[in-house]
Structures are given as structure tokens and as C-alpha cells.
């Protein structure tokens, strides 16, 4: 087994069924990420792209705002309130600190399953502006999502990563594949937030694995044969048998 460097992990709200996920019908990711209205409709919240984001907009925010977060996951939100001029300084903080904590750099950490509410309030005055609600759920399954490059001379690029589907079990020699692990709850919901994941491949002479940004790995089939890719993180281990076809044995 060839251990790979520590990578990250996974999840997104719109990917519940796990087929093809794409941002738009055009050739690339959207310019701006999804802005979700707060529960009171007063503020807008955005979810910063992380290793769980399948479709990342060009402004660095997720193209779809997640509804579920994995326990143990780290994630970042921003809140915007346009109700006052000049703009008011705002503070984001968890509603229940035993469910969600905050790191000094503002990163939120989902600690326990339940409601992961986050309130947005005016700095100093204490007046609440709005709040956003997530469900925090324990990962029970990991699936692999992928996007396909065309050949070894045309490596998978970030621009191609906006369209992903569940990884199949067959690759063709010279077909580079970008892979991302996605956690799901027992109810099938995709879980957002960064959870470290370690990828390994049983036989690197058949499929080589290299790490990319945002917790993704790239599979490069080397020769015909069968091997297994495995990923472990968030208390979950997933494996997938891969058959490489075509090319020399």
C-alpha cells in the first residue's frame, strides 16, 4: 500500500442522490457562490469552498449552500447585511458552543450532531441581525466523486472540476481522473465541511495517486490490471476496486 499525504475531505448539500453535479450548463463554474438568506430573511450567508465542495465558484464560495455539516468538520461562513448604511461591523458566532465552536481565525468546527445554528449580530451593540441553520450529522458512508481528464498529456485542471459524478470502477490507461471523497449521513445527505482523509492505492504500478488542492487526488492509470483505492477519514473507511483497461499490460 502506498500511503498518501494527509488530505481532506468533504460534503455538500445538493448532492444527496450522488449522480452528476454541475454548476451550470456552460463550460465553467459560476462567478459567484450561492448566497443563502438567513432564517429571518435579513442577511445573506455564503459558504467558503473547502475540500467538501464539489462545485466551487470563482469568488471562492461554494456554488451551492450546504444544509448538512459532518461532525468533526471545519468550515467557514460569511454573513452580509445590507440593511444599514454605512455597513455595520458584524460578528458571526455559534448559537450553542457545545455543538459548534469557533477557532481564533473564525473557522467553525461542528462538534456534535444536532442543529448547528450560527447567529449574525452587530459588533458591540449586541443586536441580532439574522441566523443560519445547519444540521450536523455523523458521517456513515464515504463515496468517491470524480471528473475525467482526456489523457496523460492533458492533466485534469481546476477548471474541469466543476462537473463531477460518482467514480466508476473502470478506468482506461492514460485516462487521468480527479477524485474527491464525499461523506454522507445515514439518511443519505451529503455532509459539508473539511474532514481529513487519507487516500491509498493498493498497487501504485497500476494506478498512481497524487494529491491536489482542496483535498482532491488525481488517479493516473499506468497499465492494465486491477487494484483498489481506499480512503479513510471521519471514522469511515471506503474502498473501491478499480479495473484499468486498454493500453499495455
Amino acid at each position: 500500500m502506498k500511503p498518501l499525504s494527509a488530505l481532506s475531505f468533504v460534503a455538500l448539500g445538493l448532492v444527496a442522490s450522488g449522480c452528476v453535479v454541475s454548476a451550470t450548463a456552460t463550460d465553467g463554474p459560476p462567478l459567484t457562490g450561492a448566497a443563502q438568506s438567513g432564517s429571518l430573511g435579513l442577511a445573506k450567508f455564503q459558504y467558503a469552498c473547502d475540500s467538501s465542495t464539489l462545485v466551487c465558484a470563482q469568488d471562492g464560495n461554494a456554488a451551492a449552500f450546504p444544509s448538512y455539516i459532518a461532525t468533526g468538520a471545519r468550515f467557514k461562513l460569511t454573513g452580509r447585511y445590507d440593511g444599514e448604511s454605512p455597513a455595520t461591523a458584524l460578528v458571526l458566532s455559534p448559537i450553542a458552543r457545545e455543538l459548534v465552536s469557533t477557532d481564533p481565525d473564525g473557522t467553525l468546527v461542528a462538534l456534535q450532531a444536532g442543529w448547528g445554528g450560527v447567529e449574525l449580530k452587530k459588533r458591540g451593540a449586541g443586536e441580532t441581525v439574522d441566523f443560519a441553520m445547519f444540521r450536523i450529522a455523523t458521517p456513515s458512508k464515504m463515496v468517491f466523486f470524480s471528473t475525467y481528464g482526456s489523457s496523460t498529456t492533458s492533466p485534469v485542471t481546476g477548471a474541469q472540476s466543476w462537473k463531477m459524478s460518482e467514480l466508476g470502477s473502470r478506468l482506461t490507461v492514460s485516462q487521468r481522473t480527479l477524485v474527491q471523497a464525499i461523506f454522507r449521513s445515514s439518511g443519505g445527505e451529503s455532509l459539508a465541511g473539511e474532514v481529513p482523509v487519507d487516500f491509498k492505492v493498493a498497487d501504485p504500478s497500476i494506478v498512481d495517486v497524487s494529491s491536489l488542492a482542496r483535498g482532491r487526488v488525481e488517479l493516473t492509470p499506468r497499465k492494465k490490471g486491477t487494484t483498489e483505492i481506499s480512503a479513510e477519514g471521519g471514522g469511515i473507511k471506503a474502498t473501491l476496486a478499480i479495473e484499468v483497461t486498454g493500453g499495455a499490460s
Partner: protein, 121 residues
């Protein structure tokens, strides 16, 4: 003497109810949020880790608005904060599972206490 009599009559009239300064009631309208929960005259229920909004107004016996305030007996269980949208808009936060009392004030006086529970689902 005549001026004094007039002043006494006017003061008595105000004191006997003409000025409408006596507390009568609070009205409460809650607002549905994704996590559920409820706010009513009888009870407040907030899901743990979530929040519930309510519009709360105090009236005197002439139907005039009174200045109101809302406080929690234990903000570590149920916290309450004013919303930017107005003095009558309040948010109840479920900080941790447990029980507390929500106190409704009118013109600075405690008028009503409502039991409040933060519940895990």
C-alpha cells in the same frame, strides 16, 4: 384656592384611569424558522442549537403601546436578544438543553413570566 381645586380634580381624573397608563397585556406572534420551536403566552420551546423569533408588544388598558423588555432568567439556557428590525422583535436562542423563565416587562415592571425549554431532538 380655585386653582388648587382644579389641579386636584385633574390629578384625580388621571389617577382614576383617564391617562391609560395601566398595563393590560402582551401580544406575542412567533415566526416559523427551519428548526421549529414556538413562542406563546403559555410556553416557549427552542430547539437546542437553534433560534426562534417572536414579535412581542405590551399594551395598556386603553390599547396604547407600552415600552417593553424581555429577559431570560438563565441566558446560558435560553438567551434572548433584540433584533435589528425593531424594539418589539426578539430572538430566543437555545444555548443548551434545560429550563428557564422568560420575563416580560412593560414600562420597566415585570408583568408576565413564561416557562421556556431548550430541547434536544
Amino acid at each position: 384656592m380655585k386653582k388648587l381645586s382644579c389641579a386636584l380634580v385633574a390629578a384625580a381624573a388621571l389617577a382614576l384611569g383617564g391617562c391609560g397608563s395601566e398595563y393590560s397585556t402582551h401580544t406575542i406572534d412567533d415566526v416559523a424558522t427551519p428548526a421549529g420551536g414556538s413562542v406563546s403566552q403559555q410556553a416557549i420551546r427552542v430547539p437546542y442549537g437553534a433560534a426562534v423569533k417572536a414579535h412581542i408588544m405590551a399594551y395598556d388598558d386603553d390599547g396604547h403601546r407600552l415600552g417593553g423588555d424581555v429577559q431570560s432568567s438563565d441566558p446560558t439556557v435560553v438567551d434572548v436578544a433584540n433584533l435589528v428590525t425593531g424594539d418589539d422583535d426578539w430572538v430566543f436562542f437555545g444555548r443548551r438543553a434545560g429550563h428557564a423563565e422568560i420575563r416580560l416587562y412593560a414600562n420597566g415592571r415585570l408583568q408576565r413570566t413564561i416557562p421556556a425549554d431548550v430541547v434536544s431532538d
